[in-house]
Amino acid sequence: MVTIRALTGIVVALAGAGLVAAGCGSSPAGTATVRTSGADAAVLRDPTRTTCSGKIAVMAPYVDGGSTDSVQMNWARVALDTFNSKNGTSFQIEPVDVMDDVAAGVRGARRAIANPEVVGVVGPQTSVVTAAVGPLLDRAKLAYVSPSATRTDLGGGRLAGFYRVVANDSVQGPTLARFVATDLKARKVAIVENPEPYSRGLAGSVSRALEADGLPVIRISVPLRTPDYTDTIAQIPRDADVVVMPFLLTEDGQRFARQMEAAGRDPRLVGGDGLFVPTEFTKVGAYVSSYSPDLRKAPSGANIIRLYEAIFGDFSTFGGPAFTAMEVVATAALQTCSNGRATRAGVWKAVPDVEINDSLLGQRVSFDKNHELEGGRFFMYQVEPNGGYRALG
């Protein structure tokens, strides 16, 4: 009898466990947020998500129609609309048209500061504008994340609200020097530079690194927009097998490369990121550096590139960091959203702690105490006969 009672107990217990399991398993396997009504975009968004609004200024060119015009703006826009779609937010872009014109930058920054809806800034694009408008933005407690201002002295905490999602020039110089010495195995190097901060700084950095490696280096300075480089070319030693040209302006790089070819000189040419403009610098076989990695190599790159092409047609890797810069600002805005509104104070406080693990840049994005991108690198490309730039390494 005891055995039968025990057996009954066991069977009842097992049946109970089965029922409990049945109860646990009755919930749906996944949660579906897609509705059936079709074309209305709003139904595709999860209505339970918290909405948040505010404007994010983007300080990048979009008016002049030049080769890089609108590229960063486009990438920032794709990032913002994607962010809104994924998070149910309604952040808006506030465009500020500025490239390297300091006066225009100051005007644009003042306009952004005066607009209370603007909670953060993507940009400025160039170092020279960043240096000029940084103090204004700092006073207004507007955090600004640049996708391309690489001048080293902008970092280090000098500008309190300045962050960048690219490496600075202190990384670019050694990267170029390492490439010249190790990959190109140069024997003698000439550096042709412009007498302005970007070019001189980069030339100095490359020169120091090469000389530390024991390579002979000769430096030649030429003014910006030099129409005729005949004298400069004559100064370049015949046995220099690599010419580094950290020009500020792409047009100068292109003109210099053409005149070198016309003069029958054929050393390998290496440019800085100032020449990374595929539509303008087209010297086949030349090398250029860029703060932007080949976006196609990032795990999330293919999808986002397809999206970009669906909206804007041509894809350009140049503006990719603007996508990440916008992600940083929008993430900070959402994290500190209060009563459906993002705030400047919130973005200012949150940006240093933003982390993006699967970024378009193919690396984890976070900032060190100097507001620099942790693990930031420069990348080398080679100009191909079809005009494209091929990532090396």
Partner: protein
């Protein structure tokens, strides 16, 4: 069987009397648990099958939604540009009536995009209203929503396939459980305690394997 023949009717009774009770009890438990596991497995398989069908349906709906959105984005993009060109031409000609008529044919987002564009100072105005700098230009968001819907469809399809595979595996476990029943049932045919014990052990092992597989595939 041969043992029973050797000992005769008396020996057979004695053998039955000495059959260990734990063996019968174990067999009863194994068969009981097997029955419950078979039931739960079949139920879980049906639930997962249902989820798979649900996700297949949702996936199809998402694809339809994505296609609708993509077509809408394409149509809106073409339409807004064509209307805008006609509108500007009418304005340049001074044909305000025609311009107003064309303007009235534009959808709300196109009108807002044009208004924003017109409101910009000449030096800060993009070449056309349909540029990324124009916050009122809605085409990028529409295309992105279409892509999102497509991604959702893809993940739902993936989930449906996972559920379907699990469901099939659970059906296979249910089929394996018949081995438990078969071995347990066969144990009643044999007189030898050793043969009984072997079959009960095999039955229990089959049940254990099925239980582990069910837990893994849950």
């Amino acid at each position: 069987m041969s043992a029973a023949g050797h000992h005769g009717p008396h020996g057979h009774q004695e053998h039955d009397e000495h059959a260990p009770r734990w063996l019968n009890l174990s067999l009863a438990i194994i068969l009981g648990v097997a029955a419950i596991v078979a039931g739960v497995t079949a139920w879980r398989g049906t639930v997962l099958n249902g989820h798979a069908v649900e996700n297949f349906t949702l996936s199809t709906q998402s694809v339809n939604a994505a296609n609708s959105l993509a077509q809408e984005a394409e149509r809106a993009s073409t339409s807004e540009r064509a209307l805008y060109v006609d509108y500007e031409e009418a304005r340049e000609r001074g044909d305000e009536e025609r311009a107003a008529a064309i303007y009235s044919m534009m959808d709300g987002s196109t009108r807002r995009a044009i208004e924003w564009w017109r409101g910009q100072p000449a030096g800060d105005r993009p070449l056309t209203p349909f540029k990324s700098a124009n916050p009122e230009w809605a085409a990028p968001a529409t295309i992105i929503d279409a892509r999102e819907a497509l991604e959702r469809a893809s993940s739902q399809l993936e989930q449906a396939n996972i559920d379907l595979n699990k469901s099939h595996s659970l059906e296979f476990i249910a089929a394996l459980l018949t081995v438990t029943f078969l071995l347990g049932g066969l144990s009643g045919v044999f007189q030898s305690p050793r043969a009984k014990a072997t079959l009960v052990t095999a039955s229990g092992t089959a049940l254990g394997v099925c239980l582990i597989a069910m837990v893994v595939l849950w």
